[in-house]
Amino acid sequence: MNRPIKVVLAKPGLDGHDQGAKVVARALMDAGMEVIYTGLRQTPEAVARIAQDEDADVIALSSMAGSHVPFCEKLKPLLERAGLGDKLWVIGGNLPKQDHDRLKALGFRGIFPSSSRLDDIVGFVREHVR
């Protein structure tokens, strides 16, 4: 790839806990990636539209308030319809173990619960982006 990896990092739903999202954004930028951070309160439609407009390689979500599964269920068909089905989808935050299989089934290849290390997130994105 000639250009830097481009990540759209979104805060889905109404959750306002953005400390983690901003920390991860900085880590990805420090690793030479281009990060479009959406800010808070993004709908599934907005995430898909921004990712499409920005021609993102990676769609990343940060969710701390428990609504990740219903959000991702709505987001999946929208990303696919926008032609982003083959991009790398990752999610981090307060993600109970019992939800990991469901998130994987919805197409999220990287799942980073609280306590994940920044270098692991950066490494995973580098390795898996197409």
Partner: protein
């Protein structure tokens, strides 16, 4: 010898003596407990007079679910309530709004109308149990609902005690439940202060939060300095309405964090009490001593708890409670050990409650005021911390003031950069966290944390009851009240009288928000790195 520097940037000596206290400014700016500048506590007898109020942050599902948990906590000896609202309520959305889907009742109690408050506080004696409402963007509606509910139950609003968080400036820095742009948001805080000063003078309309600024990456000295800068912004807004400082300053309260170095936190609170008292007296010219009291809830400390080895968080919580008690907090709330996983279960909340109780009952924390006072280390550090806070406040003023710095996203960018450096320091092992970067249990930690369940059915019931209220309420009262809200907002008048009228007519949180947003517009977040 390796230097030790605390998070606020103060170098810690290997030993302290009387000469260090002198060098740092001496003991002139301390006073006795209950005496200006209140460094040693706001009351001469402190917890002998009244132990700290115990107020765990609680709320989930619909109001009936939450009422049952309230009753449980009160039966277990809790002395106040601290209400958690779901995100739609906090963001000013009704439970049937498409944007609320999947979030109704998830991280707090869903509230749409006054009817929900009637259910939530049913059977609770509002004179004996004071209630704190953790709401910010939607605070005008929820304060109005609380006053209306109490009045309906026969309480005299002029004597009613209670607190609303209602600190919108910190929501723009961290936590994120803003609705309107910064300026009208501050104006609304002024409206609630003015309305309460005139109609509910015992009610605390604002609890200024350093807490969430610390969670977002501020160090302990910045936490206090930014909170005081914000409190000054609200005080200036209230003074501009023609209120006297002594009419409202005594009802401003504060909410601070406790995680981190124990001595740094205790010194932070002692220094903060002195600094706030000085600001209120010298800058604002308050005459009443109680106007300068730093009344605070302290505890929490979610940012210090860990996902790894969650049971160790019970121990952390106990130390956080100790810090709050040593610091003379008026009210305490602890984050539960399952904080990194879920909103707390009943079991986790009971452990937190017992932790706070045993400090009083078994450990002697309520026996004497300011037990660490007179320690050379703590007194020196108190002077040093006050200087750090004053420097930070001067920086804020020099850069254009807190309202402008928040609107531009400058404070957000600064604390977020600090949060990133701290995360790197934790991952490198430079900043030690037990179970995270040292003393890990590598054997594939199985975290046995019971998760609080979320029930879609509770959300559906909430939507059904909202639909019923919409059908039952008067068809002309609500539109009339909403147009009065719009008119007040357009002319710059205080919106609270109209908001109170609207909630009494069972207007919804969302309808009132839309009326205000129609005039004020909505906040657009500045994204700065």
């Amino acid at each position: 010898m390796k230097p030790v520097i605390n998070e606020s940037g103060i170098e810690i000596r290997a030993r302290y003596g009387a000469e260090d206290v002198e060098r740092s400014g001496g003991l002139d700016f301390i006073g006795d407990p209950g005496q200006y500048p209140f460094v040693r506590g706001i009351h001469p007898l402190m917890y002998r007079h009244r132990p700290y109020t115990m107020r765990q942050y609680t709320g989930f599902g619909n109001p009936a679910d939450t009422n049952r948990r309230f009753q449980y906590l009160i039966e277990n000896g809790q002395t106040g309530l601290n209400v958690a609202f779901d995100l739609p309520t906090q963001c000013g959305l009704d439970s049937d709004d498409p944007l609320a889907a999947g979030e109704v009742g998830r991280v707090g109690m869903a509230v749409d109308t006054l009817a929900d408050f009637e259910v939530a506080f049913d059977g609770i004696d509002l004179d004996r149990i004071t209630v704190s409402l953790t709401v910010n963007g939607a605070a005008p509606q929820l304060i109005a609902m609380y006053l209306a509910m109490a009045e309906k139950r026969g309480y005299d609003v002029a004597k009613l005690r209670g607190t609303a968080q209602n600190d919108i400036l910190k929501e723009f820095i961290g936590r994120g439940t803003w609705i309107y742009p910064v300026e009208p948001s501050v104006k609304l805080v002024g409206d609630t202060i003015e309305y309460c000063a005139r109609h509910a003078p015992k009610y605390s309309p604002v609890s200024v939060c350093g807490y969430h600024i610390r969670e977002s990456g501020a160090n302990p000295a910045q936490e206090m300095a930014y909170a005081f800068a914000i409190a000054k912004a609200y005080a200036d807004e209230a003074l501009a309405r023609g209120l006297d400082i002594d009419e409202f300053a005594g009802r401003l309260s504060f909410n601070f964090n406790v995680f981190g170095n124990l001595f740094e936190q205790v010194a932070k609170f002692r220094a903060g009490r002195g600094l706030w008292a000085k600001i209120v007296k010298e800058h604002y010219g308050a005459k009443k001593p109680e106007s300068g009291w730093l009344r605070m809830i302290a505890g929490g400390g979610g940012g210090g708890l860990t996902y790894e080895q969650p049971e160790v968080n019970i121990v952390r919580g106990a130390y956080y409670a100790l810090i709050a008690a040593l610091s003379g907090a008026q009210t305490m709330a602890l984050c539960c050990y399952d904080e990194a996983y879920t909103i707390p279960t009943e079991y986790a909340q009971r452990i937190s409650l017992r932790t706070m109780q045993l400090l009083i009952e078994e450990m002697g924390l309520a026996d004497t005021a300011d037990p660490l006072g007179g320690s050379w280390y703590v007194e020196t550090l108190t002077n040093d911390m006050r200087r750090k806070m004053e420097e930070t406040m001067a920086e804020v003023d020099a850069a254009g003031g807190i309202v402008r710095l928040v609107a531009e996203g400058a404070i957000q960018a600064k604390v977020s950069a600090q949060a990133y450096r701290m995360q790197r320091a934790i991952e490198s092992g430079e900043f030690r966290k037990v179970g995270v970067n040292c003393y890990r249990s590598e054997a594939a930690e199985e975290h046995e944390v019971q998760l609080h369940p979320y029930k879609d059915e509770d959300a559906r019931r909430q939507v059904r009851s909202l639909e019923e209220i919409r059908l039952k309420r008067s068809s002309h009262e609500v539109p009339e009240a909403l147009s009065k809200i719009r008119a007040a907002a357009e002319t710059g008048a205080n919106v609270m009288p109209a908001v109170v009228e609207a909630v009494k007519a069972y207007a919804t949180v969302g309808e009132i928000t839309q009326a205000l947003a129609g005039v004020y517009g909505r906040f657009r977040e500045p994204v700065r790195f």
